[in-house]
């Protein structure tokens, strides 16, 4: 075995630093990646050119293009239009709903980002849940897992697979084709769906969370929207006499009542009034809160409750405004911040009414709750203001508010450019990055989306994460560190059958992806496993493929973006993911290894 050199030690140290920083999250993952881009050339482990080659790699360009294409499809409502027929096909049965929507989400996820596919279907799933009275917790997890599994159907379905061919280049190994993984991916999706259909009642939480009772299912279908009622009140002519001024904020603090709208004489209505607005005499106000709190407020403050909405009927009838449930999006600027810091009231004039997280509805001091991905926030405002907020992309809205800014007339163009890109790859064997970027460019030129919208849609965190870890992979291979580690591992485990080696690689990839990102796991493990496979006389391409697939095996913890997104609306707890995720993860490895054996005879 080659002796350990100083360069190898430095590379191992840098890997350790990267893994440590990923785990402790002292800095963001993309910052860790940029650290690698800078540290590696300074330590002379890679050349300066190699340090930044990631930014121009085929994988990174492909991912940028895939994201833009996905954004274009989203903008034209092409995907939205698929929702209605799928729901019709699914009918009224819980199993059929899971099967059809899971297949649809998996299919979309095969050429779009998993999180995009998952987010797109979230509102529809919530509507189905309400209509068919199926607990959301029974639907979201199977469908969310299908979105993740769908990423294994094509080579552009997820970042690790997009990255795979680039990582094989140093070894002069034949790259994989766009649909080389499709049989394996389809088998994984089918087995995942089958597992939930057959064993869902054992592995899924009952009615919305690990400890919830089944009879709470109706409330959990719309926990936020059911957290209060809209009521109209009137203040008497002597309301302000002989008392301290009563502000909108006072009603919130004392009675947990949110003032949605207020009249100002002579006939002006203010929607989402600022917190320091005074409640005057002889005015009408539209509030939201629990009925018992409204009654308590009316009694203490001497207000008159109206039986029906009169003055604010137009607002309630959604001509001008309404309530929406918005979920904190993955990588949202709101993550870790409070609503007070976000200052939605002043910036967008929308009123946050309640927050829903892990089965609990919070109505008090919601301005001070640090938000996490998947938290659902009930918002009220005019549609114009909610649209402005939606454009910020800090929330995913479960009901569309932005219909005016969709471009359904461009749907044909969007579809055309997608088909063209795929034809270029499959039919003309043109490089994946070139084909996809052609499709993306076509969408911009035909104004499916503007260039600025294209830039805004790109998730730069993923791009820099990829670009920054690629040089670490290069360093691992170039210095012989990968070979050294591979030999060390093989000396420890001894001679094993190829199927056993591939299984071990699969398990290793699964563990790594839970701890560091899927991209990080892929970049670090591919050079290692290729060397291991070469030393053990096993097909190195298969070893790399196992890594590319198994780094999507992220079900046990809600660390994957899709799981984080569905956690809040589904009312799931970490234990729910551990239970279902363990079963699916084991099934994933078994099916993956069997399919690789079957198709490639590895």
């Amino acid at each position: 075995m080659q002796p350990l050199t100083t360069e190898m030690i430095l590379v191992i140290l840098m890997i350790g630093v990267a893994v440590f920083l990923f785990v402790v999250e002292w800095v963001r993952v993309d910052v860790v990646a940029i650290l690698m881009m800078v540290a590696l050339p300074l330590l002379h482990l890679v050349s300066p050119k190699e340090a930044f080659v990631g930014l121009s790699s085929n994988a990174v360009i492909s991912i940028i293009a895939v994201i833009i294409i996905g954004a274009g499809l989203d903008k034209t409502g092409v995907i939205n239009r698929m929702v209605a027929p799928i729901i019709r096909l699914a009918g009224n049965s819980s199993s059929r709903v899971i099967i059809f929507i899971s297949l649809a989400v998996a299919g979309i996820s095969s050429f779009m980002q998993n999180i995009g596919a998952a987010a797109l279907f979230l509102p529809a799933i919530q509507r189905i849940s309400k209509r068919l009275k199926i607990p959301l917790s029974q639907l979201l997890m199977p469908i969310g897992f299908s979105a993740i599994l769908g990423g294994t159907i094509t080579l552009v379905g997820c970042s690790p697979l997009i990255l795979l061919n680039d990582l094989l280049v140093p070894f002069n190994l034949e790259p994989f084709g766009l649909f080389d993984v499709t049989p394996i991916g389809l088998a994984l999706v089918a087995s995942g769906i089958a597992c939930f259909i057959l064993f869902g009642r054992f592995i899924l939480p009952r009615g919305g969370g690990a400890d919830k009772d089944a009879d709470q299912s109706t409330e959990e279908v719309e926990p936020l929207l059911a957290s209060g009622k809209m009521v109209e009140l009137h203040t008497p002519a002597d309301f302000t006499h002989y008392r301290e001024p009563v502000l909108v904020e006072d009603l919130r603090r004392r009675y947990l009542i949110n003032t949605l709208s207020i009249t100002e004489p002579p006939d002006y209505k203010v929607i989402s009034p600022p917190l320091d607005t005074e409640i005057r005499s002889d005015i009408d106000l539209l509030v939201h809160g629990r009925l018992e709190d409204v009654h308590r407020m009316a009694e203490h403050e001497n207000m008159q409750i109206k039986e029906t909405l009169q003055v604010f009927q137009a607002e309630f009838n959604q001509e001008r405004g309404g309530m929406v449930e918005a979920v904190v999006a993955p990588r949202s600027a709101l993550e870790g911040k409070t609503l007070r810091a976000a200052n939605l009231q002043d910036r967008f004039r929308v009123t946050p009414l309640a927050v829903y997280r892990k089965g609990q509805t919070y109505r008090a001091d919601i301005g001070d709750i640090p938000l996490t991905v998947g938290d659902a926030v009930l918002l009220y405002g005019s549609w114009n203001r909610l649209s402005t907020l939606q454009a910020e992309k800090i929330f995913l809205f479960t009901t569309p508010v932005d219909t005016e800014q969709m471009r359904p007339e461009k749907a044909v163009f969007a579809g055309f450019w997608l088909v063209l890109a795929l034809t270029m790859v499959m039919g003309f064997k043109i490089q994946l990055s070139v084909s996809l970027m052609t499709g993306a460019l076509g969408m911009i030129i035909t104004r499916v989306l503007s260039i600025d919208e294209a830039y805004q849609s790109v998730d730069w965190r993923t791009i820099f994460l990829l670009a920054g870890l690629i040089p670490l992979g290069i360093a691992t291979e170039k210095t012989g560190t990968a070979a050294w580690i591979a030999n060390a591992v093989l000396q420890t485990i001894g001679t094993v059958q190829p199927i056993v080696l591939l299984t071990v690689i699969g398990i290793l990839s699964t563990v790594f992806t839970l701890v560091i990102s899927n991209v990080g796991a892929t970049v670090l493990l591919v050079p290692l496993v290729v060397n291991m496979a070469l030393a053990a006389h096993t097909d190195p391409r298969m070893a790399a493929l196992v890594v590319g697939l198994a780094t999507s095996n992220s079900f046990i913890l809600p660390t994957h973006q899709v799981n984080a997104l569905y956690m809040g609306p589904g009312g799931y707890r970490s234990i729910d993911f551990m239970k279902s995720g363990m079963v699916i993860s084991v099934l994933f490895i078994i099916v993956m290894i069997l399919m690789i054996q079957l198709i490639y005879g590895a």
């Binding site: 400890d211 603090r253 004392r254 009675y255 947990l256 709190d293 308590r296 609990q360 919070y362 109505r363 008090a364 001091d365 001070d368 709750i369 640090p370 707890r573 970490s574």
Partner: protein, 270 residues
């Protein structure tokens, strides 16, 4: 009308003054009754509560949490008792346990060590020197106690509204000053200050009820809307949520009770 707390060192005639003030104003006079209340309600031997409120903590005690738990019980009993106003409390730490309530008149009675020693020597039948030593030790214990639990020095004059040095002042003079201060409008209970006291009492009651789950939880209460802030982890939060659901049904004064994971806003919390 008002709540009067009288803090004093031992043998400073504080008890005498407190009882005279209560008699003059027609207020209830309480001290040890609070400890009896707490003992009965929370099933803690009174002697443990007395030690908690009197002795400075040892090193081992500082590492444990029992003392702060006992203080939570005492505070809960005290705040619940004084909700009705018109109370004179001359137990320990009233100025700390009732801080934040505007209609509390915080009085401190101080006396010369020599006069105090003479009073103790006469009462206990011991020498002056011995009496002086005991008083110095007792004062030091209380100081350390106040520091250890609340980070405050009981001799800090900023903690009080009125400090009376009973050297030249007679008991009747001290009583006169205190009664005049109590009648000032700034020490009259208002609707807002009563609400604040109600909220404090409710928060302390909930704190006492959840101590076994999370001793370090902060609780805020405003108009009967309570928030429990816990940093004890997800499991503790789930347990607190179950406890909160039970308490909601038991205590009518609670309008809303939520458990939030994390720290309470600065300056808030019981």
């Amino acid at each position: 009308m008002a709540i009067i707390t009288i803090s004093r060192g031992s043998y400073s005639r504080g008890k005498e003054v407190a009882e005279a003030v209560a008699a003059r104003l027609g207020y209830e006079c309480i001290s040890r009754d609070v400890l009896l209340d707490a003992s009965k309600r929370f099933n803690i031997p009174e002697v443990k509560l007395i030690r908690a409120i009197h002795d400075a903590p040892t090193l081992l005690q500082r590492m444990g949490h029992d003392r702060s738990a006992y203080m939570a019980y005492i505070r809960s009993a005290l705040t619940w008792r004084v909700r009705e106003d018109n109370v004179v409390y001359h137990g320990l730490a009233g100025h700390i346990l009732l801080q934040g309530v505007s209609h509390v008149l915080k009085v401190r009675i101080i006396a010369d060590i020599e006069n105090r020693a003479a009073a103790e020597a006469a009462r206990e039948g011991i020498s002056l020197k011995k009496a002086r030593e005991l008083l110095v030790k007792d004062d030091e214990e209380r100081r350390r106690w106040s520091h250890s639990l609340y980070g405050k020095d009981p001799w800090d004059s900023h903690l009080y509204d009125l400090i009376l040095h009973v050297k030249k002042l007679r008991t009747e003079d001290a009583v006169e000053f205190i009664c005049q201060a109590a009648n000032l409008p700034q020490f009259h209970a208002t609707e807002a200050s009563r609400q604040k006291l109600e909220d404090l009492a409710l928060a302390c009651r909930i704190k006492a009820a959840i101590l076994d789950v999370d001793k370090d939880a902060d609780i805020t209460c405003e108009y009967g809307n309570l928030i429990v802030y816990s940093q004890a982890g997800e499991r503790a939060v789930r347990q607190l949520e179950k406890r909160a659901a039970a308490l909601l049904g038991e205590i009518p004064a609670i309008n809303n009770l939520e458990v939030h994971e994390g720290k309470a806003p600065a300056g808030a919390g019981a």
